[in-house]
Symmetry: C2
Subunit: 374 residues, 2 copies
Amino acid sequence: MTKENKATVVNVELGDRSYPILIGRNLLERAGEEISNRLPGSKTVIITDETVKKLHLKTLEESFQAAGVEYSTLVVPAGEKTKRFEIFEHLCDDILALRLERGDAVVALGGGVVGDLSGFVSGVVRRGMKFVQIPTTLLAQVDSSVGGKTGINSRHGKNLLGVFHQPALVLADTSVLDTLSPRDFRAGYAEVAKYGLINDPEFFEWLESNWEGIFSGGPERDQAVAHSCRAKAAVVAADELESGNRALLNLGHTFGHSLEGAVAYETERLVHGEGVSIGMVLAHEFSEQLGLCPAEDTKRVIAHMEAVGLPTRIDQIPGQLPPIDTFMDLIAQDKKVSRGQLTFILTKGIGTSYVDKTVSAEPLRAFLEEKLGK
Amino acid sequence: MTKENKATVVNVELGDRSYPILIGRNLLERAGEEISNRLPGSKTVIITDETVKKLHLKTLEESFQAAGVEYSTLVVPAGEKTKRFEIFEHLCDDILALRLERGDAVVALGGGVVGDLSGFVSGVVRRGMKFVQIPTTLLAQVDSSVGGKTGINSRHGKNLLGVFHQPALVLADTSVLDTLSPRDFRAGYAEVAKYGLINDPEFFEWLESNWEGIFSGGPERDQAVAHSCRAKAAVVAADELESGNRALLNLGHTFGHSLEGAVAYETERLVHGEGVSIGMVLAHEFSEQLGLCPAEDTKRVIAHMEAVGLPTRIDQIPGQLPPIDTFMDLIAQDKKVSRGQLTFILTKGIGTSYVDKTVSAEPLRAFLEEKLGK
């Protein structure tokens, strides 16, 4: 039944909220067993979306049946628009109707949308239930599955409502990534590359040589996922509630979020990882313009993103974009604002990003105007 | 301007989430100063209800103006029904529209409803803003202002959705309690008496002799509030997330919540503290019936509750009550259920309550049937 039993374990060290991330192929088939070992006696509710349901729900449910894990299943529509208040409310209500208790678990089977939404739900029902994440996209495996950030969007912006709620267990089955579209796989890859760009130039170099193995599902994929989870876990362990250096993880994200906002989260035009890819290039270009980042490093970033097929310029986003004022508003409304001062992640070159709180609006506006005008 | 500057300080020790509770008369007039000292530079949004607005908002706003604390004000309807999803959503949206940041503060001016709702809102907007509580009822001062429990009700029960979110500061102005109706004051007093009944027989004895000073606003009132806050703070510090002995604070509450549910939270018929008063009496009577609690202790509890004018019997609740099955359902759906086993706070006498997980449905049903039949 189980094809392979090897899994890499990355421990996220957060005191009494510590948890393991298991990384490997075909973990979905062992999910029931892992959950019943780690949360003995817990009932579960699986939350998934219409797309993932068709691909992976049956495997998961069979593994729950085999391990005797009691479960119900709730299915939400696929897509970023599912991260909204109405669906959040319905899920909370459905879980209460199932009479699940604090020690029971919400199991998120899906990408970032399902994970963020389910995590928020599990964080507030009875003031916090157990939470298990089974991320089915590369983005979710290397990013949202580590760190306990959960949330939904508001008409004022992305992820503006949520809680920090750490999972009890994360199962990153790297074989489910075979079912991703090339576009979605690439989008997740932007976050993998980010860990190199933040503080790990050797990893970025390794990616430049090994990205093809990651995309084709070779052993490099598991290595890259594990390395990314370890990198994020290290940052999160040092700053769980994002009061300081955790902000480094937002490299490219302030620009990226403003681009996502500018297309009203229409994923046909731009998905999160694409926004991050363009955003990271913009962060290097802006840093270069401020005399911080060598031109050759910016060029390497652009070349690598282009090599894997990710967008690197705003003008690659199809359709009309809003005027500069809208962008400035979106940036000002980004969570990563403190006392009216913009917090930007700037860089002195590949692998030497830092948190900068001195960016003022004028040079940023001039930089963006030029980029939008192209 | 400031009539008196003395305040008792009770520190709630929760590591990096520790915070002080200031207790004293006329603290409302110093609120701006205290907030600006403790959260320098934070903007604020005051959340209050229609009733409290008329009585105390002006004093608070003037103190904010005097101290240069920037504020907006949001007003919700008074009453338990305000603790619902729709209002929660509106408040989150309003605060985002005000563009407040993570370091800014939600200031709850009101009783438990305003505190629980505002605390939940402040716990999820931008994944957690600063939170300041200015409880204006005795109940809120001695109970909900300590411990970080926040939440709203669901059609499935009370406080079923929420988060643990600790305030940065609590200001318990004991002079505002002069404006409470006798009924509301008494309701809060039930929670004061509870601290004696849980584990502090000397305090219960002191209350038996000193309750009149507490009701009339003598120095005993500040002493009782401070003692209650200290008692709760000690329990909370030992068990922040209610995994163990914090459940002791629910003495009388499983019964009480079921009574509140039975009247559909209609506060004309029953307010929380009245439910707790009857619930504590029922807990002693049930414990007595199980051979745990001496009959004279039950009598003393009843006598004291009657002396202060609190209800002690289910048949004092006006109107028709639902059948026994509804009560059993409400009790089973109470949060304090673990793996299908009822968690009850039972007692071996005044000041010797304990967490009991062995209560089974049959004797409980028989006990309640008898009480309902009267």
